[in-house]
Amino acid sequence: MGAFQSSPGQPEYVDLKEKTGFSISQIRVLHTRFKLLGHNGETLKRDHFNSIPDLACNPIRSQIIEAFFDRRNFRQNGEGPVDEIHFEEFLMVMSHFKAPSPRMIEERESVRREKLRFIFNMHDTDDDGTITLEEYRHVIDELLSLTEDLGKDTAKDIADAAMREVASTSMAHMEPDEFFEGITFEHFLKVLFGGP
């Protein structure tokens, strides 16, 4: 044993490095942060995120926190929410925000798609693969505020205008008798980047 602690499993870090693409020292820093947020526990719960003051100022804080507990973001093809996450899952979610390293063009495309998938998942709260109009309006409401600056009507107008734009972009690709269920991931990409 001795008095010198060995670093917590160098082999574990190497494994995580392969999966997420972070470097060993970045993983170390994130692990320290994970332990600090979770008060040295094994897992993080939603409450632990609530103790960060900067995050509390963020209008879409609850969506961001939910994203950490959403199985779709763990890259394991799972679905549905969890109540607590381990360090590996924390790293997986964080890796969506990693700066892309200079790679080949195809890889860059897929990395980009993954990041956008993350944002899509944040909107789609009922896990059905489409963003309905309600879900979209919900996000917009969170971003805006209900103060005197912005009357309730103005907020509604802005939300409706955004909806219409989204609907028109996607409706252009549908048959006349198809019912508009919601925005799929492909539509989402088109709305963001215009294009054919």
Binding site: G2, A3, F4, Q5, S6, S7, P8, F22, S23, I24, S25, Q26, R28, V29, L30, T32, R33, L36, L37, F49, N50, S51, I52, P53, D54, L55, A56, C57, N58, P59, I60, Q63, I64, M94, F97, K98, A99, I119, M122, H123, V139, I140, L143, L144, S145, T147, D149, L150, T154, A155, I158, A159, A161, A162, V166, F188, V191, L192, F193, G194
Partner: protein, 457 residues
């Protein structure tokens, strides 16, 4: 009966007796007597210099060893993960929109789906690292100071280093710790006893004079009990009678450090147990301001008692820690405005600990008082610098909050600490809903402002 007192036992008894006598004489001559008169032999400074040289050697050794073995050294402050660009809110949103769609956008007028990127990025960045939560745990050191407790992934490097560390352990726990505990008991015991005695005297100049001397002496013994090596700067700005002394708060030891250089009237809540005994006996000798637990909630009562104390110009300066809780000595958090509303001259004091010798921060959620004190007494030493800043008073057009912030900025600047606006109470509580609304207001202003422009044209 003869079986009990064989010659060997006799010898042991004699040796024990001699060593105890020697021990106490040394203690008296080298520590207690200088404490009484306020002089110093300089032993502690010599000790500090030796330790520094040792730590440098140890760090070099570790770095060399790490290179040889190709280990990664743990550098605590690498922020290579977040790419921070200090641009304004509007610019960033425009940037995101421009890089996304092919449309030609000049102003951030309508809501775009991509606006959400900005907030998401901000949110995750603050999960990764934010200014506040890291202030409530001990600071991480760049080098190692031969204490296991600050040992973050330092592997086994060499035999010499391990031997050194082992030696350090032996010295700290078997020599320094008992010495310090003895001193601590002596200091506290003398304080309680002598202040009670002085309390019997009638109020007058003799009583004040004696009480000052007694307080100083006992605090100096306590300072030596912690092997605290303190450097006082700018002593000409020391707080005078009838003023308020404010300082940043890192641990309960702050009180001992300040009170060993000058006499203050302390403010606080009456505790039970040993603390309560000390508090009650101290107040017999000179007027400190202790509150019952129930009185603490009543802000007006507190303010009244403090200002009454200030009225009497011959009373000692009041010592207050406006942060309200212990912070880890890398930053200064919001000062509560109560102490700045009562008037009087404010004498700010900045205290900065040198973390290389022992971390003085009291993480009250992790350690209780007793285990904290034991940790302090088994570190190498507590080295700190105290700066007395020039006195400040509230100006005509300033309100209490602005004055508090001005004082806080001065203390942070002098001590080399980060000046934060956040409240130290966040250690235990949550942020108010009003902050979230601020961000929303900002965003909606941006959208509405440009809507109006368009409807006008």
């Amino acid at each position: 009966m003869e079986l009990f007192f064989n010659p060997f036992d006799n010898l042991v008894c004699i040796l024990l007796g001699i060593s105890l006598t020697v021990w106490f004489t040394l203690l008296l001559v080298f520590i207690i007597v200088p404490a009484i008169f306020g002089v110093s032999f300089g032993i502690r400074r010599l000790y500090m210099k030796t330790l520094l040289k040792l730590f440098e050697w140890a760090t070099l050794r570790i770095e060399r060893g790490a290179k040889e073995n190709n280990h990664h050294l743990h550098k605590p402050y690498s922020n290579a993960i977040i790419a921070k660009e200090p641009t304004s809110f509007e610019e960033e949103i425009k940037e995101i929109r421009r890089s996304g769609s092919n449309k030609d956008l000049d102003s951030a007028s309508e809501f775009e789906m991509s606006d959400i990127f900005y907030f998401t990025r901000r949110g995750v960045a603050s999960i990764m690292d934010d200014e506040v939560t890291k202030r409530f745990s001990a600071e991480e050191l760049e080098s190692w100071n031969l204490l296991t407790r600050s040992n973050n992934n330092f592997h086994y490097i060499s035999l010499r280093l391990t031997v050194l560390w082992g030696l350090g352990l032996v010295i700290r726990y078997s020599f320094l710790l008992p010495l310090r505990v003895t001193l601590a008991f002596t200091g506290v015991g003398l304080l309680v006893f002598l202040t009670c005695v002085i309390g019997l005297l009638p109020n007058g100049r003799l009583k004040n004079f004696l009480s000052e001397k007694v307080h100083l002496m006992c605090y100096r013994i306590c300072v030596r009990a912690l092997t605290a090596i303190i450097t006082y700067h700018d002593s000409e700005n020391k707080p005078k009678k009838g003023g308020i002394c404010v300082a940043n708060h890192t641990s309960p030891i702050d009180v001992i450090i300040l009170a060993s250089d000058g006499c203050y009237a302390m403010v606080g809540q009456i505790h039970g147990g040993l603390m309560g005994v000390i508090q009650r006996s101290m107040v017999k000798a000179c007027p400190h301001i202790w509150f019952e637990r129930s009185e603490v909630k009543d802000r007006h009562l507190v303010a009244k008692r403090l200002s009454d104390h200030l009225e009497v110009k011959t009373k000692l300066p009041i010592l207050i820690f406006p942060e309200g809780t212990c912070i880890n000595n890398t930053s200064v958090m919001m000062f509560k405005k109560g102490s700045f509303e009562i008037g009087g001259t404010v004498y700010p004091v900045a205290i900065k600990y040198d973390p290389r010798f022992g971390d003085a921060f009291w993480n009250s959620s992790k350690f209780g008082m007793v285990s904290y004190l034991l940790r302090m007494m088994s570190s190498w030493a507590i080295v700190c610098s105290v700066w007395y800043l020039p006195p400040m008073s509230r100006e005509e057009d300033e309100d209490a909050v602005q004055f508090a912030n001005r004082v806080k900025a001065a203390i942070a600047r002098q001590g080399g600490l980060v000046d934060l606006l956040w409240d130290g109470g966040l250690k235990r509580g949550k942020v108010k809903e009003t902050f979230k609304e601020e961000q929303q207001k900002l965003y909606s202003k941006m959208l509405v402002g440009t809507q109006e422009d368009r409807s006008r044209s």
